[in-house]
Symmetry: C2
Subunit: 237 residues, 2 copies
Amino acid sequence: MRAEEKPGFRRLPLFREMMTQTFDSLMQIAYSQNFPPRMDLIQQGEYADFLHILVEGAVELRATWNGHESVMGIVRPVSTFILAACVCDAPYLMSARTLERSRIVMIPAADLRAALRRDPDFAVAAMRELGVGYRTFVRHAKNLKLRNSRERLAAYILQQSQLANGVVSMVLPMEKRHLASYLGMTPENLSRTVKALRADGVRFQGTQVIITDPARLMALAATDSLIDGPDPENIAS
Amino acid sequence: MRAEEKPGFRRLPLFREMMTQTFDSLMQIAYSQNFPPRMDLIQQGEYADFLHILVEGAVELRATWNGHESVMGIVRPVSTFILAACVCDAPYLMSARTLERSRIVMIPAADLRAALRRDPDFAVAAMRELGVGYRTFVRHAKNLKLRNSRERLAAYILQQSQLANGVVSMVLPMEKRHLASYLGMTPENLSRTVKALRADGVRFQGTQVIITDPARLMALAATDSLIDGPDPENIAS
DNA sequence: CGACCTTTTGAAAAACATCAACGTCTGTGG
DNA sequence: CCACAGACGTTGATGTTTTTCAAAAGGTCG
């Protein structure tokens, strides 16, 4: 653990309200590590040894079944992931790998559980984190079941725009095929949908996205806070 | 609260390890209520006033968007639901309504949060419950993204069969159109898929399902513990 | 430059949704 | 007790969406 990182950690929602003693002891045990891009961190089916906290970079949560594969979520700093597997002491349902060079702090699951039992404020904060993760996946499922792929793409673009304070131009934060998988479609389908969306107020230039008609796009996406957020802070547990 | 229900509650995973004092005070505040079938309990978008515990009956979690609607989950006794909205103090992402006549215990969200902060063992148990709910939705999303509708139906039938200790004959626990929505398809599509599955080892007779060739059905569904469970206990938070 | 990967495009097939019509069942009220 | 409205379920015809397969175009990096 780098000493200079500690104050930043202390400010995270997960650690903000815990006892100083608990925090310090966890920081003593925790260690942080750098990973190169495309590094597998976790395989689905394994058991949780460490709570992961993404400090820098980006991590992709993926799931596979029967030869198929899908991107289930993207984790961005600063967020924990696989909290649920840690507290349930159950196998991971998803794999995790870095997208970019990433800095990750790891806390042994056993120590985490002990700290939770010792420090109610920490437990409450962890629950809130877990609750946000739960809600993220409810949203993901709603998105998949209630919207078609064009609507999902439109909503995604608007969501990204709003995360960046409403800019009308941005760069896709990941490869298109990963985005396609995240949105539940094939790369080919995404490519065609992108073209079709020109009529609805978006233009793509390579990896660059430009919203040419926000109102029209919003009408299509029918953005809804109960699907598209916001839930503050974390992404996946 | 009926006095004779208390011991049963005490045995629930959520309440099993909490302090007697916390338990008693919550039971003092909690009240239980009977609801008729098809009764709306919760509307998506509202704020959480009470943690709900389903003691008897069945509850359906639904989501709507832009005129579309989908069954997101089924809660069966004994389970809590909307725990996440309670701990996050955030609006419900789903609506809830009874399917059958149901008995539900309600605990004011504020008292719940106070109890969590006071009793670490309770907080840990609640976290585990929430973790199970999180994992349930990860599974739901994996199911939707990785399997097609025929595979989902096959997996559902096998899952139900296994929940009933591996029987080869059972009665569908809900209307077909609700099942269709839960599995992410239209009623018409379910109807046709049911017929198509005859070649894969299942026969339907009205609401009765008979597995005629378990091996064949399992080959189709490719049942996977990381999608189809088991995760013990609860269903939805 | 050339190997490798992503993205795009085209054509065909499969999966799925929609619309409309017709049984079937259930409970209600005449 | 029967008739009938209303809901559910099925079936058929049709249309849309999406996937699959194949090939070409574009980018990246050694």
